[in-house]
Amino acid sequence: MGSLRDVLSPFTAWKHVIETPVTIRNPIGREAADGYRGFHQNDIEKCIGCGSCEVICQNAAIDMVPVSDPVDGDSGLRPKIDYGRCCWCALCVDVCMTGSLTMSNEYTWVDTDPDAFRFIPGVDPKPWDDLEKGYRREGGRVLTGAERVEMGELAPEARIDNFDEIVAGYTREQAMIEADRCVECGLCVATCPAHMDIPDYIAAIREGDYDLGLQILYETNPFSEVCGRVCTHKCETACAARHEGDPIAIRWLKRHIVDNVSEDRRLEIVGTPQTLPTRRKVAIVGAGPAGLTAAYDLARQGHAVTVYEAQDKPGGMMRFGIPEYRLPYAALDRDIAVIAAQGVKIETGVRIGHEITMDRLRAENDAVVLSIGLHIGRSTRIPGTEGGGVETAIDLLRRITAGEEVPVPKQVLVIGGGNVAMDIARSMARLQKVKHGAVGVTVTALEDFAHFLADREEIEESLEEGVEIIDARGPQEVVRFKSGNRKGEVKGLRSWAVTSIFDDKGRFAPQYDQGDERLHPAEMVVEAIGQAADVSILGEDLTEALDWNRGRLAVDVAGRTSEPWLWAAGDAVHGPDVITAVADGHRVAASVGAMLMAMGEVAR
């Protein structure tokens, strides 16, 4: 039985008929507050498809979907948002690595098709695409650090009279801070020639699990200690973090892992081949990064691998081309020790084509891999280059590494603007400092500073060490004394100013200002303009039998030459780069391994 109140109360609602309503009669079309978090906008040109928005979304409202082909530094994916799940929290906007993702203040949208509420902002056109009001992250990224942890280095005055390693390596704390900046987008993986699993080994650093980190490194790179120091780190050019700050120091983090695992432990983790010997034999010519990587892979597959190296020690350009202040020989030796532990036989001081012919290698092995590098230094061949006092950088660097005596005059001039030019300039500067107490090295390059081929760090460090670098100079003649006690000796380099080096199509077309002529005084000129492979080891018959591609050995995608028993890899095929050579070594090893396995199947 209800009370009188229960009977009358519905009628009390009638009083609201005459009151001003407090709700919105028609919410559609009413503009939200300026900073309201409404439907997303995405600047499709700025977005790199890193997927940080997808990862951070707590409601799984974001899926990364393909909208274009991937390129370096851009996955080609873009976020597709499901507004049935989106809670409009804007974490995706806050974490966005490029600032491309924003939210308009448009929040109302009526549609009878439920699928319409899942769309790709910036790709699927929407009326709010150009709205300026809405939610934008203020300032730069705050969820992930923008600045790289600085690497400790020897000061110029402390390093100029020795070949001690310059870079100190990260401490545990520094590495943690740097690793924390990584959002694990994986854009770097595609850019790394060896496709190293960078996000996972950085995650291992965060976990403090260096054994795991090392294991991950060795899945793709048996030269991780080397690459942790001298890799060209193309990965860092694709890093999402570079868009609003510094890229993650991927190279230094890789080194940090190896620095924290002892040599013995490294051998334990990597282990030795867990397979029965196949009785198949492979000869590899050249103990550089490509050859030794192929050797590592093939040995772990159970094949008997012998690497032949012309120099007295293995390592190729890593040892004889890169100065010790950048890559200590001990670090290289540790990487090579792991490879040798797989049963790889390395025969040094054996020059193929002299002590052993290619024919013999072919006869005694099931497969042969050529990884001969680029060990011939090119010369400009300008007048005066023939005769004493003119050297090639490659030869000088090799002699310095081998401990041979090299001329160290007070004034040296280097021709070239690449990393090899900087390597020899800095090496000579050290030797001069020890011998004469002062640095007297000048580098002249055809390129202007904007087009220098050397890494920026190399140029900066060279300048710090007192090397003089003069850009945009075209070498014309090595001038020699014409009379007196020093007749015939080098007096210097005559050069003209380069007014432009490339034409409007970006092709080499140097233009000189002959009126701007200079004589750069020097007692020795070092040419560091380019390198070539010594293909004479092949002999005339094999050279004739092989297919060539504009001066380089023609190989298929697997690295196989036109001769079915011969593969080629490394700098001689794809140009100079350690990590590219490592990738190449894996590629030919896979191809050689497949062929040897097929031979085994046939034999059964």
Binding site: M317, G321, L374, R378, S379, R381, I394, G416, G417, G418, N419, V420, A421, L446, L453, D503, R507, F508, A509, P510, A528, I529, G530, Q531, A532, A533, V535, E540, T543, E544, L546, W548, R550, G551, R552, L553, D571, G575, P576
Partner: protein
């Protein structure tokens, strides 16, 4: 004095024939060189031989063209560069086994000589068909020289720079 001036003159036909001979000699030189160089750089010599042959054909077509026929006897002042041009017709010795850099340096030197010759011929002829022809040939040489310079950079200034 008058004789000297006359000797400085030539007909368009003579000039173009000299140019064609220059390219024929070059084609012959490169063709002979092909078997002498190692296979890895043979492409380079073959490319150069092909380019010279194309040049010869182009000049031959030019001489046969009706427009040009009317101008073949036109007098043209011999260029200053003519002596260098004539010298370059005699191909130098590159040795038994020239390498890619030697071949390229030789080819670049020839292109430079031809470029100077055509540029001067163009400058020595008044506006009209002959002027256009020599300007075109000078532009062709400029383009070919640019191609060779780009190739030179690619081959010589590569690898570890």
């Amino acid at each position: 004095m008058k004789t000297e001036k006359l000797s400085q003159m030539a007909t368009a036909e003579e000039v173009i024939e000299a140019v064609a001979e220059f390219s024929r000699e070059a084609h012959s030189f490169y063709t002979d060189l092909v078997p002498k160089v190692t296979k890895d750089i043979r492409y380079l010599v073959e490319d150069l031989a092909r380019a010279e042959l194309a040049h010869v054909r182009m000049l031959s077509d030019l001489m046969k063209s009706p427009d040009m026929r009317d101008h073949l006897k036109d007098a043209i002042r011999r260029p200053e560069a003519d002596r260098r041009f004539s010298d370059a017709v005699q191909a130098p010795e590159l040795g038994d086994k020239p390498d890619d850099q030697q071949v390229l340096q030789y080819a670049l030197a020839r292109e430079q000589v031809a470029l100077e010759e055509f540029s001067e011929l163009a400058a020595n002829t008044p506006p009209g068909l002959l002027h256009e022809v020599f300007s075109f040939l000078a532009n062709e040489e400029t383009r070919q020289k640019a191609d060779l310079e780009a190739l030179y950079y690619e081959i010589v200034h590569s690898g570890g720079v």
